[in-house]
Amino acid sequence: PVLVIISQEVSIAMFALDLGSSTNAAAAMKKAACGVTDARQHTLQPTLTGTSTLGCVFDGGVVISADKLGSYGSLAKTRNITRLFKLNDCTVVAASGDLADMQCIQRALEEMIINDTCVGDGHVRKPAAVHGWLTRVLYNCRSKFKPFWNTFVVAGLQDGKAFLSYIDKLGMSFSAPSVSSGFGAYLAQPLMREAMDGAAATGRQLTRTEAVALMAQCQRVLYYRDARSFDKYDIAVITSAGVEIETVDVDSNWEVADYVKGYI
């Protein structure tokens, strides 16, 4: 059991009373209480986090995916978080890292889009514009030592051409045909590059079906090997026809568990 007292005087102080049985949550809170008592330092540590986001370009569009888990340290706390959000018919943004920071940025972006609609001149905010805005905001906030602790992936169609970019919490950004944040950079990026280089060797790009299957394979590998991942993910496909987002379950096979000594 954990008792939390928040006082609103000069600083925020958190107390965790560990009454013998330490759960993961208690351990996490206690660690946070010991390390972070200064209100300013709360910006230098993520709290509820999302793991990898993946994206790849195919012939005719872009596909990005992110799983639906919000992790509170090692606790799998919220299992239906949407880390992927559609801005308009040509732009989707996905985020990993601190989910409160993600939601703050999400609200600001959605407000921008609503303003665009209200202006009513037919202009839509395209992915390169969103990318530029996000990069500058993240860079300037990190320069004030109040970073948004997120890695964003911006995907969409820029003037009919596929656009996929990555922006990290330091405001460093780049565009690439396949991107992944977090653990995905180690586990999924090689798989994506192999598939895309294989297609490029025969002078073509991935088809939509291949790209979606590649996402499924990468999410499966991440579910097997990333300890902070989940078996349900959102996948967004952006083509000239618009944005399609759906939630997919990871198709995982645990029969090998029977052969592992020590497993039940």
Partner: protein, 200 residues
């Protein structure tokens, strides 16, 4: 009467390759390019500021920034952040006309807080120390014995030298590779080409 600048296109973070296709050499004005190594976020920021200042200069003075002015501007921009440095290791290269109207190539090397110097050749970045000795030997003919042939640097030889130097750096530095971006600056402007480098 011309300058060559070479750079690679790999963006890495720790032991990961983030992108194989990030160009580090960009132009400022008509006869000048800036190559940037270091923190990519700061590079992007610095280039935006420099580009904006160059545009403002053109609007105010009716002519483009020339090479030594760009170099001086960059030094001031970097020093203005003396106590929170822009972690960008820059090289400015370009051609400019001297008092007799002859076009001369110039290279300026910087540190992160803006101290700069014009030199015959310069290399910067993670693999800068790998490339500089070879350049010193072949461009400035340093450490050659008295009987060694000092081949003058023509354009063809300069391109070959830049390619060799990039390949050499790629062999030994893990952060260098993928593609080499080679830029030629002369009085007619800027031309670019790419060479493949090792992808490991």
């Amino acid at each position: 009467n011309a300058e060559y600048m070479g750079g690679h296109t790999r963006l890495s973070e720790g032991y990961s390759i983030l992108s194989r296709d990030v160009e580090r050499i960009q132009s400022i004005g008509k006869n000048c390019v800036i190559g940037q190594a270091g923190f990519h976020g700061d590079n992007q920021f610095l280039y935006k500021v420099l580009q904006t200042r160059a545009k403002i200069f053109e609007f105010d003075h009716g002519q483009a920034l020339d090479c030594h002015s760009t170099a001086s501007l960059l030094s001031n921009l970097l020093y203005s952040r003396r106590f929170f440095p822009i972690l960008s290791y820059c090289l400015v290269a370009g051609v400019e006309q001297d008092s007799q109207g002859q076009w001369k190539g110039r290279v300026y090397g910087y540190d992160v807080v803006g101290s700069f110097e014009s030199r015959p050749c310069e290399a910067t970045g993670e693999a800068g120390t790998l490339m500089l000795p070879l350049l010193d030997n072949q461009v400035e003919f340093k450490n050659l014995g008295p009987n060694a042939e000092r081949v003058p640097l023509t354009r063809e030889r300069a391109v070959g030298l830049i390619q060799d130097v990039l390949q050499a750096a790629t062999e030994r530095d893990i952060m260098t590779g993928d593609f080499g971006q080679i830029v030629l600056i002369d009085k007619d402007g800027v031309q670019q080409r790419r060479i493949p480098l090792r992808r490991d």
